[in-house]
């Protein structure tokens, strides 16, 4: 019953020549890719020929076939006759340079490098197209979940208007820890680091830059727009406290780091931020380091993709699936179907949504009146004032929810409230997602 990969490929696409594969970057994912490639390829349709890494002597593993060349020098790989290079370096350089040179020398590339594809995806896809090579990058977003091809090809018949999701497992892990263990952000982060779910320097995850790169890739695949990573507004989750979850629960909600890109009539909205989401929504149901993406199409409505968002094996599945597509494209002479088609567009961050604003104050009479007075002057309607008992008077958190209004106006009002001497910290503002998994109003 268990069909070997060669049998599979032969039956599916006719006999294929052996495809020579190099792995550049041999860390956790690289080892998982090599292991999966060997496990899934009993008859050597895919031939692992090179493994390239710094200080490669320390990397050599005895389960790798003896014929594989271990090297520290990428030039050896680029000058060789490998057909596909699997790029698992991470970071922009030298990955960018090496991938360009690989494509120029008529090698296909499969990459798990989200920053590379977010920053240089258009250029590299164009280059792959010009050189008739395949460039696969499914592993860049949500590891093994086939959401890039799902949006780009599987939903090609629709006109997608929104992609929304939980794209960073580290943030989701930390936020669910704060919620479940009633702990502080700092303690939850420390726990995530100890459990291997956060890096020593977690800035890229916490501040949203990791999710922003993935969002750029999804927006290109699904919305056909070309965002620059800096165009994605990022707000950190570091100011979210346990009492924010208590107030969110009062609203029937919880808090998630949400990434969203919307497009309408040539204008886009793209943001990564902590947001208030309904407990019954699919976003709220995502636990631990899972990822979930909801696309909204003008014709087909909402489609959900979810699964493991990280880890060696799930990422290796995406890499190997791309590798099989690369083999198919090479054997049939078909150029990559992924030539960039996305257009740049105007990006706004001034959406009209309901808002949650949390203040921490030294309590005294007149605070609510003072804050409400500011919102009133900016013609912002209050929806509710929430003040739970049991907090210290010297560091009292309370929450005001606001009816939909433009973010720019709220920011102006909040700038004015920052002058109040009763404030212990700057206020924390989060959008309240109105419908299932989506923002209140379009652009």
């Amino acid at each position: 019953m268990v069909t070997s990969l060669r049998h599979f490929e032969q039956k599916k696409y006719g006999p294929t020549a052996s495809c020579r594969v190099a792995i550049v970057g041999f860390g956790t994912v690289g080892r998982a890719v090599a292991s999966l490639l060997l496990a899934r390829d009993e008859e050597h349709t895919l031939e692992l020929t090179h493994i390239c890494n710094r200080r490669v002597a320390s990397k050599i593993a005895e389960w790798i076939p003896t014929g594989v060349m271990w090297t520290e020098d990428v030039e050896e790989v680029l000058a060789s006759d490998v057909d596909v290079i699997i790029e698992l370096l991470g970071g922009l350089e030298p990955a960018h340079d090496w991938v360009r040179r690989a494509l120029h020398s008529h090698k296909s590339v499969v990459t798990a490098n989200k920053q590379l594809m977010a920053h240089f995806g258009s250029e590299l896809l164009e280059l792959a197209w010009d050189n008739e090579q395949y460039l696969g990058f499914e592993a860049c977003v949500a590891a093994g979940v086939p959401v890039v091809s799902g949006l780009r090809d599987g939903l090609a018949g629709d006109r997608l208007i929104r992609v929304c999701g939980i794209l960073n497992g580290t943030c989701n892990y930390i936020l669910t820890k704060i919620e479940q263990q009633r702990t502080s952000f700092a303690d939850a982060l420390r726990e995530a680091q100890q459990a291997g779910f956060a890096e020593a320097d977690p800035t890229d995850d916490i501040d949203g830059l990791d999710a922003a790169a993935k969002l750029v890739i999804l927006a290109r695949a699904g919305l056909n727009i070309e965002l620059r990573p800096v165009q994605v507004t990022c707000r950190s989750i570091k100011d979210v406290a346990f009492f924010d979850f208590e107030y969110a629960h009062e609203l029937g909600c919880t808090i998630r780091q949400v990434s969203i890109a919307e497009v309408e009539q040539g204008r886009a909205y793209a943001v990564v931020e902590p947001a208030i989401v309904r407990k019954s929504s699919s976003l709220a149901g995502v636990s631990g380091s899972q990822n979930l993406i909801v696309s909204t199409g003008e014709f087909g409505g909402e489609t959900v993709f979810s699964g493991h968002g990280a880890g060696g094996n799930p990422t290796a599945v995406a890499v190997l699936s791309d590798l099989l597509k690369a083999v198919r494209h090479r054997s049939t002479g078909l150029a990559t179907p992924h030539r960039p088609t996305a257009d740049s567009c105007e990006v706004t961050s001034d959406l009209e949504t309901r808002q949650y604003v949390r203040f921490i104050v030294r309590d005294r009479p007149g605070i609510i009146a003072a804050v409400a007075g500011v919102f009133s002057r900016y013609h912002i309607n209050l929806d509710a004032v929430l003040q739970k008992p049991g907090y210290s008077k010297s560091e009292l958190p309370f929450v005001i929810t606001l009816e939909p209004c433009h973010e720019s106006r709220i920011e102006e009002a909040l700038a004015e409230t920052r002058e109040f001497d009763f404030l212990v910290k700057p206020p924390l503002r989060m959008p309240i997602l109105q419908q299932e998994d989506s923002y209140a109003s379009a652009l």
Copy 2:
């Protein structure tokens, strides 16, 4: 910003010749396909040339361009120079004959016909391969959710061992109605029929035949096995009553029509049946007519796909996405990559799972002892006996849950309990899904 389809196709795949398309079967889905095709193809890369239907005069719509030929005679379509035929007839014949002839005459085919692909998928995919045509059938399962290509291509790098899901929106609608409105099966069915969610003859949905066809298609795409539809064990949802939900809730569970195919070492298990699922599982979270599919891979773990499982527009999205793939395959000369690769295999239905068994009895002393005695003789361990108060003594439902044991042995024991004169109805047995979305033990 909104890129026309022609622009899109040209940028993506180079200039493409106009592709001539015929729609055969012009009901709800046919109209949605035509409408979407016209809306998404402002510059006529896709040229709708024929619409074929019985009594076609009654079908003519003025929003269809005047150049389109309306016909009752499929021979006109088959003899024409159309490039792709969209088959939306449903049913086995004449669809089977027509699709075969279309492929033989070197036309690609896109179909939404699940029974056709379940019964004759292998043959037709082989035929498409031999004739270098594309055969798309994404619309057969879960409408617009790209799960067929997701399993077959997106997760090709994994070794999938299980596909599990909610594949029939009608059953899900009825079961959620029974649960939420505390109503009977008959009333919930009537309501579903009035709301357009169930057909006048709902047998195929209720008894699981519709879901079984979809499961055969998913098993072929994901598990690489060739099941015949009759090999899928189907149990009807018609005996599920409101009190079953009350007892399921006692267990922290609810009831869903679940379709599952598992494979291990050449043996498969395939069943469509009402099952007890944990309330916190993703299966339980599926509401109304949504569909959800969970695949389990040996390497990548669980991946979830969900969205609208029916309806004109979501189905049309899948058809148009397939049509775009057909165009791409034609313009590049690539034969269909979907040549059947699946192997037939031994199918078992004798899985070892926990079980929920519900009896309805005329109450009298000694009933539980009598039933427990039978299970004991078959060496089946009882897990719990649930008897909620408030039911009529003359028609009293109670539930026994059983520790994991082989279904064949439970069936033997239940056959013996059917002899008891206190039984008002035959007992209803449902498996209790143990882990998240999966059965207790492998094969």
